[in-house]
Subunit: 292 residues, 2 copies
Amino acid sequence: MSTGQERFLESARRSDQFTFTFGDVLDSSTLRAVMREVDVVYHMAANADIRGGVASPRKDIEQNTLATFEVLEAMRHVGTGRIVFASSAAALGEPEVFPTPERCAIPVQTSLYGASKMAGEGFVAAYCESYGFEGYVFRFVSLLGPRYPHGHVFDFVRQLLGHPATLTILGDGTQRKSYLHVQDCVRALIHICDEIRPENRPSRQFEVYHLGLPEVCLVRDSAQWICHEMGLAPKLEFGTGNRGWIGDSPVVLLDTQKALSTGWRPTHSIESSIRQTVRWLLEHQWIFETRK
Amino acid sequence: MSTGQERFLESARRSDQFTFTFGDVLDSSTLRAVMREVDVVYHMAANADIRGGVASPRKDIEQNTLATFEVLEAMRHVGTGRIVFASSAAALGEPEVFPTPERCAIPVQTSLYGASKMAGEGFVAAYCESYGFEGYVFRFVSLLGPRYPHGHVFDFVRQLLGHPATLTILGDGTQRKSYLHVQDCVRALIHICDEIRPENRPSRQFEVYHLGLPEVCLVRDSAQWICHEMGLAPKLEFGTGNRGWIGDSPVVLLDTQKALSTGWRPTHSIESSIRQTVRWLLEHQWIFETRK
């Protein structure tokens, strides 16, 4: 619950198929306890604050790299061997090919976050080879939609609620990025890992899938949609350069043919996802109180 | 000193330019203390026992991945920013291109050791981007020569000293691997990181170099040379398949053009390196007492 919120669980708690355990993902005894008799582990817990990695590198190593290792170890001890791992387009550094396919050149890492996620991918693959695990790695672009308490939409809305007359944008606004609605993302994970029949599954025990929309938007276009959705016309103050921060990638666009070939289809465009995120944030402004 | 030996330091200790500190590479205070006023850190400490990773995965994660992070953190705290990191051909999993160049496809990791080394590479690159470090990553093939207390030559000689009539070989003996003499390896590190003039250095802060000989030998040929050097003609008992153990790679051959382009040249062939290793082991049989 470092960035998650108990309030997000209200509707899930009403289901008798849902169990919640509060615990530290670095605590092996908690992990082993919750993983007994589990068929598949969706390991999504992570420190997702790429920008913060420069100030707090240990957080990326502990919460992403080490946590993934502890999850794998707990699975091995209790005899659960199917894992879905949330990796990131950031693990690709600054690719040279766009849209970027799963099989591309070994990246030069540009952030601790990306490096920590690629480390997790490697551990998952090694557990598949060493212990017969079945591993699915998904590299996500940035997500949008309800309950997403960070990223540029969150930052922009928070800024505009505080001072509606100006919006400060990191970088020159020309960063071109793909996004994905959280519901499309979750549907992809379940579809690819759970719904496709065994005989249609890839033969290998370890598979990497790229997830994202086949389009990009400019950060400055996103700013316009956010301002429009809020009914504001602030002065936009841009930074310099096409990177918003150390480790930011000026272009993010993944080749998602492999995921699409399974029959999965994203249903939300970038613009509608951004506008929906803004509306959700405006209707749930308590979220800003949780992230000072 | 998990695999190293104090006795290896006898000649180094006679130099007044040498200082030895006994400490744990996971202990940040020791690391910070020894790194003050250091120009460049050659980070070679690791658990190099690839085969043992299946039984003791935590060792690879702690001694390779976490240790590399702690070394980088200590360097950041004391203001030292130049690092040479010993990675491995094993970090490339099972490549599809031979000889394998530095820029190849993102590997599917086949061992915890390889995954833990690739994780370390990523951390070094991220520190270059985030904190202005200068990082040199070297992916070694297996080393040979004096003082190398593991690997197939060590195993074969130990077997033959114990029972000269039979030699058990893991796998079918057709594994084709490149090797490098430890002296050629050390000369490459010093030449590339220290001796080439700044104006001839690559412009980027992070560089990866492959190190190895441009030849391979079959494990069964190596066995013949070892037997010949020991004056023995044992019965050779082969396993099955072209992998000696889980995570073993049937072919290891690196493209070393990038390292060669700096002027470095290896001087020992595989056969002479193997024979020299055998002679060193026979002259220093106390080494077998240290590794039961």
